[in-house]
Amino acid sequence: MVRLRPILMECEAMPTTAADASLIAELTELLGEEGVIHRHDERVVFECDGYVIDKAMPDVVAFPTSTEQVAAVVKLCNRRGVPFVPRGAGTSLAAGTLLPEGGVMINLTRMNRVLEIDVRDRYAVVEPGLINVWLTEALAGTGLHYAPDPSSQVACTIGGNVATNAGGPHTLKYGVTTNHVRGVELVTTEGEVVWIGGLVADQPGYDLAGLLVGHEGTFGVVTKIVVGLSRNPEAGRTLLAVFQTIDDSVSAVSDIVAAGIVPAAVEMIDNLMIRAVEEAYHFGFPLDAEAVLIIEIDGIEAALDREARAITEIVQARDGRIDRNIAWRTRKEPEYKSIWKSRKSAFGAIGRVSPTFCTQDGVVPRTALPQILRYMGEASKRYGLRIANVFHAGDGNIHPIILFDEKDADQVKRALEASRDILAECIRLGGSVSGEHGIGAEKIAMMPLLFSPDDLAAMAALHEALNPGGLCSPHKKIPMGGHCVEQVAPGRHAPA
């Protein structure tokens, strides 16, 4: 049987798994025929997620429909010593759902109900496979919404968002996933069902729910989530600011924040990206602009125009101009929907310019944005590769997209080097190597660059406490010694 293994250097003997007939039989007994995929041809599509460089086929894919079934599957894996990994929609950009040595993939897509919406106490209880935007749709008419809005929100699941602590354009004002999770039901790595946190926010004691958000599937399988809901703003303005240089655009971001304004979102798109997006969505971005910012403010109607004027002045002081000023109330206005659709699907549009590209997810302090962008401009020249940019500027969360030709080995090598250089520069500027996509299996080798051995040891101890034996999501997030993943090709996809 052909199994494509990821590029993995084996530093010591690894346990091997085999989906022998008895494992399949036991899983089938638990989940029924419908709930188990084990034939070779049907497992192929599960060998990768939104990150397609490293691939490994799971031996079995399980589709539980209840917490009890998840717990039973996890217990079975423990009993048989088989690794397992949870998977939501598979939009991870960090190979989060990869099972490098095979094992059981626990697919949560069939647990996708909204269990409860409490408008007065402003929370909802949902199953992990619920698609992010479906929750907001289910809230239509209540005056509430679920704030974390990753660009992938039309596809990714809330369980996946909890596991990766997903952010999005509106993170700037409303916070990331962790700020909106009140409690979770978790099937621990050993198969116990526990509730962590609860219906009310900020409980006394350690913030265990906080610890779970961002665990990237290493602390078990999340089976229910209590999320806090936010009130819809009364109104808003979405401004499209156009600049002649990238430097001006990102400098304006810092100026806005320094002026005491807290925009709901500030997104930057550079010229290369503008052209791709325009081709795909025809929003009407000016094709000659070196960079644009989408700046959104929201709140009480009465204050908005004044704030918009203040922003306009800042933009003008950086030789920019305001090209659009979209006033909205419901977020359903066609122009509003169109500009955000362009932004949120921007990454996908790059496929129209170059079929192969890789992207990185780095963070720098907001004031260091001009430096890192200048650095990227130089790197682009140095390596002779085009680099496109579209990112959450307000958070200093950059997503350079490096275009290359996968058939040209030298370009591939240069793209990889450019990625590493840029991430190293992020760290040097006081930032980090993952803003929101997570470490997954992709970036595990970068962790030692970011953390001291002591820090890593502390994290490893936590990992060992909550994931003894390491069967749950092996080789992810925290380097546990033993294996080192070496990347030989750049990560191809990874949007903002």
Binding site: V2, D41, E42, G348
Partner: protein, 444 residues
Amino acid sequence: MATVETDARTVETTGETTPVDLAWLAEQIPYRFYQECIHCGFCLPTCPTYVLTGDENDSPRGRIYLMKSVADGRLAVGPEIRKHLEFCLDCRACETACPSGVKYARLVEPFKIELIRKTPPGKGFGTLQKVVLHHLLPYSNRVRASLLPVRLLQKIGLMNPLRKSGLFKLLPSTLRNMEATVPTLQPASNLPEVLPAIGPRRARVGILLGCVTDVMTPQTNSATARVLRRNGCEVVVPRAQTCCGAIHYHSGAEAPALAMARQNMEAFDFENLDAIVVNAAGCGAMFKSYDHVLPPEERERAARFVAKVKDVSEFLMELGPIPPDNPLPLKVTYHDACHLRHGQQVYDQPRRLLEMIPGLELVPLAESELCCGAAGTYNLTEPEAAHRLGRRKAGNVEATGAAVVASGNIGCTLQIGRHIREAGLNVEVVHPVDLLDRAYEGGS
């Protein structure tokens, strides 16, 4: 277990494989079409089959991955792959959702054609499909007679046993010879060949009657002609027009489909028409694809033909519709036919037209873009999934409280109508032009 040799390596598959012609597929599908999928997953939740099963194999991204693996020689087409490809509705919701511009239909259609071609006669859906699709549907005067029993059998769940019993084999033998000839339609709507414009002439247009429409809902064809005339169009109903060929094409009978395309391009004197107006989304989408299904040397002419093809709502909105005078005080909801919404990117126009009718209240339909399960021949080939989608659609319609649901495709009209009846609802299913026609002609 069968082991299949491919150029690259030996792959193992579980069961009997279908020997697809990789060279032919490579001719039909430029490799970059596969590469355009950047594996982002944005299409997943818009895909009706993925929504039903939650299995990546039943998603657009998964199917593209499977097809690419086949094209790469990494996978042979075993029964599983076949199942997942056949389960696809061809509704093209994924194309609308895709930020990368993946032309999904251009990938899956050649695969489906190849699968059907390689099905030994009498196997799987082959027989039934060939009977119903190739022999009956295109000859509209036989549709009424032939469709009803099939639908009935389906409803009472007898189709499978019957197929297995071999009784169905009796049918093709009587009808087999008809495949070679391309028939000429006798319009049941009895429209004359040319109808003058009412008021000053603004355009000269041809209309396609469509085989199923003309038998099942001939009044929609009459309504289309009247509405066009009221908007200043001289309407030409070419006698030599025939089936658009979609059903043949999608079920693997490429040659008759292309013959039909050619005949239609002859029948409509398109250089002398301002537009070719189509009121069935499935036929419209097929007409609009003539320029890539025909061989390269015929494509230039086909492209000129395609440039004239318009859905009736698309055409009216471009022309600038004359508002009707008579009120229709009705609560109406609108279902997006896949081949209109996704296949032709027409979604706003029918809504604008409906809103133009005085007194009519247009209410939004939840999941209006989710396939109703009709999807061409899907309710014949995947009855179980088609049922679930149909019930879901009827439920959403019920929730709107509308008295009428409008949709721009005959397949949807039949499918939704049936599920509405089964649910015991009192909701009328119509084409938007039916409502416009009533509003022009005096309301009701």
